[in-house]
Symmetry: C2
Subunit: 308 residues, 2 copies
């Protein structure tokens, strides 16, 4: 038995690989995922990882199935480098920058979408988020404003229709993991981190970060000192560290956040925390359905191929 | 052959153990060091590490030799916890808080000086730096102002004579090591980090940190983006990261730095970098001879024992 699809949408990130087979009417006919993210693969292993994931899927029509990929598969250390578009740019043009890696399995014709870069003093890069932004624009054509994409490397982007005018990256999620597991703070972050004190710690840390985003290097050590002096438990300390980092990030973006609600694209848990911190400064964060956003982005990018 | 001493001064940090045998006239008769810092020892291993280091040293007088210790040996996870004095406090009273761990080798009578803590919203701790501050006060009795102690955990303290009124810790050095070796930035920090571009990277990073200490989480990623987009070499990136972190630290303390020169206590290389960054905001950093400072601190603390 095989699954028949029109084309395949793929989100190939650093940690995970996800694929959706789309029916002719645009609905999802089949969904697959694998832990074979870019970070775990050598260049030579990409084709096999894709074939393995798509096994049993066949096309509605003759000829190879188009596989449209966004994310880190297009990075320099990925499958095949897809050169960046440079912001400000119109994301509706993403497909024009796609690259086509060699694919031994002739049933599939992969194309990898480019990322977006920014030069001139504010050097920055994104891969994958640009497709999400295009998806957001497709679902909300009238949106103009800041978008926040929480994660290992959080992105903040200004979107005007399908145009990205400026963006920046905050290493918030990675910093949390490093500090939790590798730094001197780990001594205060061992045990049950999800206990009842976590939310109080989170609010306290978020307040400190929002009020004094310039004091992060100094405030971080309070996690350790509070455990030593005030018998703060690991769950409180974990909440404090998380809140402090997110509060610092949001606090440093405060001047960019306008009157409009801020769409949040990322894991539900993380988006919930960002919404909570945004609320503390009177702003509104609106968590999005990330899968829906990614799919909408890949569809919107592909819609340009039909016009080619 | 033995070395005869009046008493022994010991600086027992996380990474290293150093000892100086003092002659009756206060001069250093013998100097020893070992890599057996607190971080490498279990509680039971402290006495042996000390005996081993002091082997062959004997006293000028009968009876056990007084060994006065500052630093992490007095931490909860050290040899014997020496409860903190609470800032604001007079460091001239350090010795009153010393604890005396059991010592199987009766030739030596160790005493460990307390650290200093701070409570009430600005929870913080130090162990070892308080003795350096007392040493600075002993060598410069008229000093009133901010002191900066660069390191893994940099300390900034306000000293008024022998009184410490307030202090804070910045995790700058630890953050540099974590980011350099464990984060995504490591991809741009592999190779010759001490090449000719390091100083230009340092100045650029320091400028960014000084100007926008609130933007650290965002600016950090520029290390990676600059390597990807602008072919920045590893030496430039290492300099940028170092400058950004020190610049952010100094920038966040700017409001505390008065007209007076800021004494710098730490490794010569690091103090040189801090002096360079302080100069960028029109302030003056004055690197101190750290060994002289520690010894002066232990001597000053011990001078109180004579009065007891």
């Amino acid at each position: 038995m095989t699954d028949k699809v029109d084309w395949i949408a793929v989100d190939w990130g650093t940690s995970n690989l996800r694929a959706w087979g789309l029916a002719a009417d645009g609905s999802v006919a089949v969904e697959r995922s694998s832990p074979k993210g870019m970070g775990k693969l050598t260049r030579e292993q990409f084709p096999e990882a894709l074939t393995e994931l798509l096994d049993g899927i066949s096309g509605l029509n003759d000829g190879p199935i188009q596989v449209l990929i966004c994310g880190m598969a297009g990075a320099r250390q990925g499958w095949l480098e897809a050169p960046y578009l440079e912001a400000p740019t119109d994301l509706a043009d993403l497909f024009a920058g796609a690259v086509r890696p060699a694919m031994p399995d002739a049933r599939f014709a992969p194309a990898i979408l480019p990322g977006v870069c920014q030069r001139g003093g504010a050097d920055d890069v994104m891969r994958g988020e640009e497709t999400q932004l295009l998806g957001l624009a497709a679902l909300h054509p009238d949106f103009n404003g800041m978008v926040c994409m929480p994660g290992t490397h959080s992105k903040w982007a200004r979107l005007e229709g399908t145009r990205i005018t400026h963006f920046s990256t905050a290493m918030t999620g990675e910093m949390f993991e490093l500090l939790r597991s590798q730094s001197v703070l780990r001594h205060s972050l061992t045990g049950d981190l999800d206990g009842p004190n976590r939310s109080a710690g989170f609010v306290s840390g978020a307040r400190a970060g929002l009020d004094h985003p310039d004091q992060l290097l100094g405030t971080l050590f309070k996690v350790r000192a509070s455990a030593l002096l005030s018998d703060r438990q690991p769950d409180w300390c974990a909440g404090y560290l998380s809140g402090l980092l997110i509060g610092t990030e949001v606090g440093s973006k405060r001047h960019l956040i306008g009157e409009h609600p801020v769409p949040l694209i990322g894991s539900a848990a993380l988006c919930g925390l960002y919404a909570q911190v945004l609320a503390m400064i009177g702003a509104t964060g609106v968590p999005q359905d990330t899968t829906k956003i990614v799919l909408a982005g890949l569809k919107a990018a592909r819609s340009r191929t039909a016009q080619e």
